[in-house]
Amino acid sequence: MPVVDVRLNALSESFPNIHLNEIIEKIPYIGLDIEGLDENNGIIRVEFNPNRPDYSTENGIIRALKGLFEKEVGLPIVNDIEESGYVVCIDETVDNVRPIICAFAARRKDPLNEHEISQLISMQEDLHNGVGRKRKKSSIGIHDLDHIVFPLLYTTFPKHFSFVPLDRENEFTIDNILNHLDVGKKYGHILQNSDKFPILIDSQKNVLSFPPIINGHLTKIKLNTNSLLIEVTSINEKSAHDILSILSFELYDMGFKIYSLDITSHSGESIKTPVLKQSKMIVSDGYINKILGLNLSNGELIKCLERSRCSARILENGDMECYFPRYRVDIFNPVDISEEIAIGYGIYRFDASSSSNPSLYFSGKKHVSSLIFNSIREVLMGLGFIEIINTNIISKNVIDDFFIRVDNTDLVSIEGSKSSEFEILRNSIIPSIMVTLSKNIHEKYPQKLFEIGKTFKVHQSELKEEWSLGVVIAHNNTNYSEIKSVLESLMKYCFNKNITTPRHNFDYYLNGHSAKILFNENDVGNIGEVYPQVIENFKLRTLVSVFQINLNSLMDLLDLKKIRYL
């Protein structure tokens, strides 16, 4: 989750009458996680969830806290937006590349300070990664307004077009930027299907930006900048306006006056941005109290919403018309309003005691496979076996060490595995148990182990996932008779069933000392003394005998529906 640094003195200044500890204590109750408190630098590090991009700055967080502490309630509003008269024209060539652009201008007397610049940059980064979907959906350019000569043109250029990109002294062609600069290599794939590249230029043909890759150097913001142009380009109109609204509120909270721009499409239509009109939603009467389990009056409901920086009015039919800021991109269903009310009410005020536990009666029971597995466990425990657990994802080497002389191709593997330890899903439970034995060579023998786990394989172009039981005995005198007597005991004591074990040779068992396990004539597993080469592969210095049973097959054959009490 992304992190924002909030200055403790910004909190204290915003809430002069409230103790800092009390403010910090309330931060989690607006849906933020406190990651750390750095008292030396006077900073609290706060994590926010991706559904609340408006929390990506200190100002956004304080805006919400002001509601909870009732310092400012209801909808936040950007006052006195003035028309700048500036125009951005959209050329039709961007239609198939990155068709949307919107923008606004902002001015104030004081230049940006260092803290504000770093907040803006970190906000830009968070918005790019979150709602901007790593710049694919939307990306943001922030420019020094004083270096721009309007009108602007949002158009495309071929790859040999060149300009001076941000923080460079020389011109680069688009081709060079994409192939040689880090940002080009990282984000170039977003434009890969095009031979024309989006460029925003001003009337002097100076490049403002090459979205979503990099800005031009000319309009870079500096410590003395006090006039800004903010533009968002996108492949999705809603996303572009969402992001622009978040930025408008942020700059307004920084003390900037906001100026709208005219965005003119190639068909001649023109809109003014930013679009900051509040959103609204109708929530039916009684819904909120029902879903939250509260019993609030309409007045209380509205008050709670206002504490969450929204507002509402009750319609004649009793329904509630709710209003919320344009930047609240996470609200699109009445349940989202219910959460705003829950937060405005205060999660800590809910009666969370056991008496809220629903009294509706249910009789709980275990899944039938859990019952069977526990019965198997109990019998094996009685026979002196210790249960182990291993991971499903293992190294292919472990499979190859056990299934020697076998071309292990029906395996299910992990796409793009990063480590040889996590390559494939195990197709048998025994190799993992062999690994366990090899990790415990210094422990006392005999070692008697078992595991119940899943195994995976490809069977007739289907992925098959089955429960499996592996049982292993390791000591210097173990042999086929010993392990078979465990197998027979298990089947007899657990299910009062017999199995047969017709001779069958497996590469991984000693020739003549292994068999298939048949239950009602069906193949359910195999048993044998492990072949010496396999034992050596696992670096063991003692004998090993094993059996494995496919529990899915066994459970099918046992007809578990017949399990009964009487």
Binding site: S354, N357, F362, G364
Partner: protein
Amino acid sequence: MGINANDEERDRELSSANLAKESIASLHPIEKNILSILYYHKGKWITDNELTKESNLSIDQIRRGIEWLKFKNFIAVEDGIEFEISLKESLLKNDNFLLPERKLVNCVKEGKSDIVDIIKSEAFKNNSKEVYSAIKFCKNNKWIDFKNNRISLLPGIEHLSNEEKFIDKLIRIGSSILSKLDESEISSFEILKKRPNFIDVKKINNKKYIISDLGVSFFKELSSRTELQRKLTAEHLIDGKWRDLEFEQIDVEAPLPLLAYGKKNPLIDFIDEVKEILIGMGFSEIDGNFAQSSFWNFDALFIPQDHSARDMQDTFYLKTIKNIDSPLPKDDVIKNVSSIHEQNWNYTWNIEESKPYVLRTHTTPVTIQYLAKEKPEQDKTFLVGRVFRNEKASFKHLVEFNQIEGIFTSKDANLRQLMGIQTEFYAKMGIKKIKFWPTFFPYTEPSLQSMIYNDKFDKWIELFGMGILRPEVTVPLGIKNPVLAWGGGFERLAMIRFNLDDIRELYYNNLAWLKGIPKCLL
């Protein structure tokens, strides 16, 4: 007063009789063995060495037996610094060893009376020093006359000298203890010690023991009794002899080695305990596959197709030799889900993205498929099962771990009830201090996370996440009523339960660790 004194005396007698009685009963074979030897040598101090030789017990057994007997005041013990006397090894190798004085006598017997001849003789091999020393000791023994360099024998030669007797004894018994020598032996030892190459003296610390008066009377008592049986045998039982036998009391307090035993894996066992709690709360267990379609793992849960959780760096996608796509649900379900995505997330939903198999990143795809299939009006289910995250394993993160998840659905299910369920569950786990914070999950709204206070670590720990399944999840699948869902990683609880610093230990299968985890946590 007199009466009182008699009473005291009687009391003492009684108590010592009681002690003796108890002692007989509790005499271990080792004690009996030692005590019988000391009784045989009563009045004499017996050393460790002697006891070892006579008893056939090991040194450890003797030490233990001595401790017990000392405690019962049957014996007295003294630390003894002793000197062990033995012949030099070189002497013992020589079968026909003779002292020089005896060699000299034999030489004269053979007819050599001139001292020069004697020095040259086979016996002395020109060692004049040895000859003069021999002459000195012969004279002491009154064996010879020595005049004008000639030697004549005296009748005393027929008697062994004291030194010879002492050497003979040492040859016979190997070694002797200084304090055990009689007077003449001591003077022989003193003489021989001064002469080079005959005697070795070794200082040893030899504890010694003597039977006490109480020990003597007790042993007499013991010997007069019927012989005690070491153990009850089947023969005693069958032939009825047990009626006439008395049995030794064994050491019932000595610790014994722990037995090998079979046991359930501690993590599985803990999961089972928690399952029982949930079943007690009316939840029923459901089960499902680890490999899930992207559709059920993501799309059905309203996670947009461009969401970063679906990236390969977070999720394990599966691949097989022949490409296998997961089976998808019926067309109408696909249509419902895709249109809810397109309406709300503003993008073009692509069916291909929902086909690849993934290892489930949470247990919710199992729950949601259960709900989509059963469409219960009201229900309470749970599952605990393996989930998979493509993260780097560390002391606090596993690639594979268990997630526990539960749902409650009914017509009137609400957020407050969800908190009540949590409180009830935590209370059954012994967790009393909890609090709830709002949070975000793509498929629940409102969403909360619970924090529990852990006394052991003295801090708040984030535990289960929860929320009400979004209508965008339930409505397309035909689920009518609100569904309260909660869940989280199980190993986090296991780390607290088993006191682990490294979560990977749970899957390491170290047998010593597995055996060491007790069944019950007290």
